[in-house]
Symmetry: C2
Subunit: 347 residues, 2 copies
Amino acid sequence: MSTMMRQVVLASYAKGSPVAANFRVEQAPIPTPGAGEVLVRTLWLSLDPLIRFALDEVRITGATHLHPGDVIYGGTISQVVASHHPDYAVGDYVEGRTGWREYAALDPIKADPVRGALRKLDPELAPLETALGVLGMTGQTAHACMVGIGRVAADETVVISAAGGAVGTIAGQIGKLKGARVVGIAGGADKCAAVRALGFDDCVDYKAPDFAEQLKAAVPGGIDVYVDNVGGDVTLAVMPLLKYRARMPVCGYIAYYGVGMEGPGPDHLPGFFRMIMSKGLELRGFGGQFVGGDAAIAELAVWLDSGRISYPVTVVNGLENAAATFCESFIPGNSHIGKVLVKIAAP
Amino acid sequence: MSTMMRQVVLASYAKGSPVAANFRVEQAPIPTPGAGEVLVRTLWLSLDPLIRFALDEVRITGATHLHPGDVIYGGTISQVVASHHPDYAVGDYVEGRTGWREYAALDPIKADPVRGALRKLDPELAPLETALGVLGMTGQTAHACMVGIGRVAADETVVISAAGGAVGTIAGQIGKLKGARVVGIAGGADKCAAVRALGFDDCVDYKAPDFAEQLKAAVPGGIDVYVDNVGGDVTLAVMPLLKYRARMPVCGYIAYYGVGMEGPGPDHLPGFFRMIMSKGLELRGFGGQFVGGDAAIAELAVWLDSGRISYPVTVVNGLENAAATFCESFIPGNSHIGKVLVKIAAP
């Protein structure tokens, strides 16, 4: 085995949407695990838009903060190749947040300041990569937004933005299982077709010149639950269609990820307050809602195992393609469907 | 009795904060009640900031819409002086939304498209004017925000903006009854002193140059519930101090009442979404939350009767002073404390 590996580091802080020049692939020695540590080999890397927050020069609330030269953080599926810890054996498969690199050495118990130990995976139960998607943070988010926060009920009308995305594709299928009418919003005819193929009742293209009218026609009785993954103009078009006392789980806001706390004027907060108050809307953010996450994953696993939900993925091969694919996620109307994964190595 | 009365009509649509020139006092014949109608004489008039929405030239969601020459709408306490309806007798006291005029003739059952019939009042149970405040819409709003939406619990920290206002003064006292630590935000030292005198644990002056620091020092453990009556810069200063999963009842947003849907830039919505999502905040608007309102008023009546809450009011005399006093409500740091009422006539 070679003594060198590849890793992707921050080359420069991102401004607005991330670009390839913000990243650099470099060679580094494969690390040596210390006492109590394990060495893991990365098999799959998850490309989550949330990583964008770590690339800002100025740190705002909560986000992980990287500096130039730091390895990009990110969720992974790995295999233990050396172990100095009694609970982790060579050959074990684990999910963690070991970053954009081919190998990592770390204390498996204190692997992540937020999520704790490396999670061991049983490859017999489900394909390994589902631990990053439908049976991981993505699935938990979709479940929390539809069930926990959205409280979606039969015969209600649900609208989901970024419906073709990792969270949106799962959230919409949960909505159908709950008996709701589910309308997606996505960019472009191909993506809308893919969304409809997942069982959504309808999908509206936000790039259409008459998007607002199409959306209105797609929800003739108004909207009970709006699962928002984007913010921005799409959300401003949705809000007038919300019913009184509608619920709005805020699960993401990709339109603002490169913006910081303030965007160019005008200020849309006055109208936002007006809608919230006059309609008695309920908004809740997904952050800090991980309580109950294991139960959510258990329910999703049953649905997945019985074929009641499908699991769309977009897979690219090789760490060298991670940065370009990540950047593409921020381009409206990109071709990604579902969870975006990088295959780093075979088990 | 004279055959003429005074009423206040819209002279011109308001732009931004309302000004005296938007209103005109005029003489009109005292109306004659038709079949099934009653003639009521106005005793008290309620000056609610929400009326501002009716004065816009362009109608946005939901608001009552007035045109130049229309009588200004508003909540009133009146006495029946002539009746062609079997359920309403001469001498009865009623609460309704009969507007800024000395007399009104109307069908007492269909008095208000939203709230229905004129509500009969028993002057033995509580002072008549409480039906416009603590035992009326103001009290319902404060109760809904603190109990229904805010779910304020013992030992939690509550911050209330416009703490010296009609809703804020009642909301803060409810918070104290629930065992919470209650911190008000108000404009000026006198108003802050009045807020503290109501039992608030602290009150921070938003006009102070070091307001943000003072507020932070007043809530060392962070904020569990923020009852927002203002929006704008005050709210933007509060949000970084909210705890994870804090509740934020949106009960008003006087900073935006003259703004319409968009204010001058920058756009604060990106930061707002970031706070909502990263902290898992729960925002709910008060609109459409009137369900359970009678139970709220019953509880407030018990508290009022047993002296556990007080009922601050600012009273001006005479319909001719209504417009100037209403306009003053929109000037930050005005001297109003509690519910603002105009005394039109004695019973």
